[in-house]
Symmetry: C2
Subunit: 256 residues, 2 copies
């Protein structure tokens, strides 16, 4: 059975997250339905590189799946997209570089971007893609310095939704970078993996620093001590979060 790799983009607001759930519209669900149709009705399972929560967007989620037939990838991506709702699309699709290539287990890192719009007014065109903070009370330079403490190998257990902590909550953050361009604030984090709600709790904690309620070094202390979820900031809303990119070494995209 030939295996395929697809890069997938979606509008978070339309879906109850990535993962299959009975009775709900999920991205994995609409992909499995569309691919099963192309597979002559035989069920196709789709493995995603990461689970995104309800409302979270993706620019570059990655998934792998097997089909009975040997497809030309350029024909397959068109046939697949024709069977998907407009709110999600495969943007790239290739044959897997090897038969056991796996979207999740072969990923070497994941990149997320959280977008904030900090101004009293907003452009309607971006409203569903950012977290809109109206108040004029943020010092984002403080948050920029604070986010650097995330880099390295740390126990991120405190930055995980209560009850969803895995046995091992140690993750490595390769790069954490906050930029401000006019009213737009972008937090880009690249890591080995992310816990449930991790990016959104990181953003909520950086907000405490930006508002002057905490010092930048407080972020460091949340990672060093045996901190718990309630010690961190609030969980930011899903609509500002994008799963931006999944990295592989080598990238599968030009292997065919």
């Amino acid at each position: 059975m030939p295996r395929y790799v697809a890069e997938v983009s979606y509008e978070g607001a339309y879906f109850s997250g990535w993962q299959l759930q009975r009775g709900l519209v999920t991205v994995q669900g609409v992909f499995e339905d569309a691919l099963t149709l192309l597979n002559g009705g035989e069920h196709v399972s789709v493995a995603g590189a990461g689970r995104t929560d309800a409302g979270v967007h993706a620019r570059g989620q990655v998934c792998t799946f097997d089909l009975k037939k040997d497809w030309n990838p350029r024909r397959l991506i068109l046939a697949l997209n024709a069977n998907l709702p407009a709110e999600t699309n495969a943007v790239r699709l290739v044959k897997a570089p090897c038969e056991d290539f796996h979207a999740r287990f072969d990923a070497i890192s994941r990149e997320y971007i959280y977008f904030i719009w900090n101004a009293s007014t907003i452009y309607p065109a971006i409203r569903s893609k950012v977290c809109w903070l109206r108040a004029n009370a943020y010092d984002w330079e403080r948050a920029r310095r604070a986010c650097l403490f995330l880099e390295g190998e740390h126990d991120f257990g405190a930055f995980c939704r209560s009850g969803n902590e895995p046995e091992d909550s140690v993750r490595t953050i390769y790069r954490s970078c906050l930029r401000k361009k006019g009213s737009l604030i972008m937090l880009r984090v690249t890591g080995s993996g992310f816990l449930t709600n991790m990016m959104r709790i990181i953003m909520g904690s950086l907000e405490c620093v930006a508002r002057g309620k905490k010092e930048p070094e407080w972020i460091k202390s949340l990672l060093e001590k045996k901190s718990k979820r309630p010690d961190c900031g609030r969980t930011f809303p899903p609509e500002g979060l994008f799963l931006w990119k999944i990295n592989y070494s080598p990238p599968p995209w030009n292997s065919h």
Copy 2:
């Protein structure tokens, strides 16, 4: 009666254009309704800098209007936005620099951007904001050279929807510039004024050049000879077009 100037952004898909039309949702209509409410029920007329067609977006439309009361502009913009649908917003609002300041007659130039996405696949997030061309048959460098012929004072009568030609169809284009960044093509045109559908017919004519059906110099000939609408290219769809900016000298925005 104090006069105000507002910069207005909207999602084209939601409106039947800028201009008031009975029984249809228009941007001018929802602004007049919202402002009339704030004016104690006394009707407020709103003058826009330019009319946009149904489906055309605006980043920076500008309008002027008079209210009975003397408002603090910072309070007025919040009250106004609270009474508008999410698909449109005032993004800036100030008192007019003089009592006869007029959004349309005082404008010295207008800027439009037409966005094209030229690739076999698309990100769902941008789908409603671009014209999506799937074919791999365009040479945008040819269109870039062609669009330079638009600069200067010309009779744009051929680039106007049939039946909508004004008596004087001479306009000045101060700058015309086509850029390509990956799969995204942006045509930015700044001019003294624009005829009905002018940007969309320009885009359709540049498409003929990009596809190799016409030479770049053909654009020049459409402006020099007594050309007619059917001599030009097709009218591009409204969803790729943004009214980007209206220019005033001096800009009214920091006068108060």
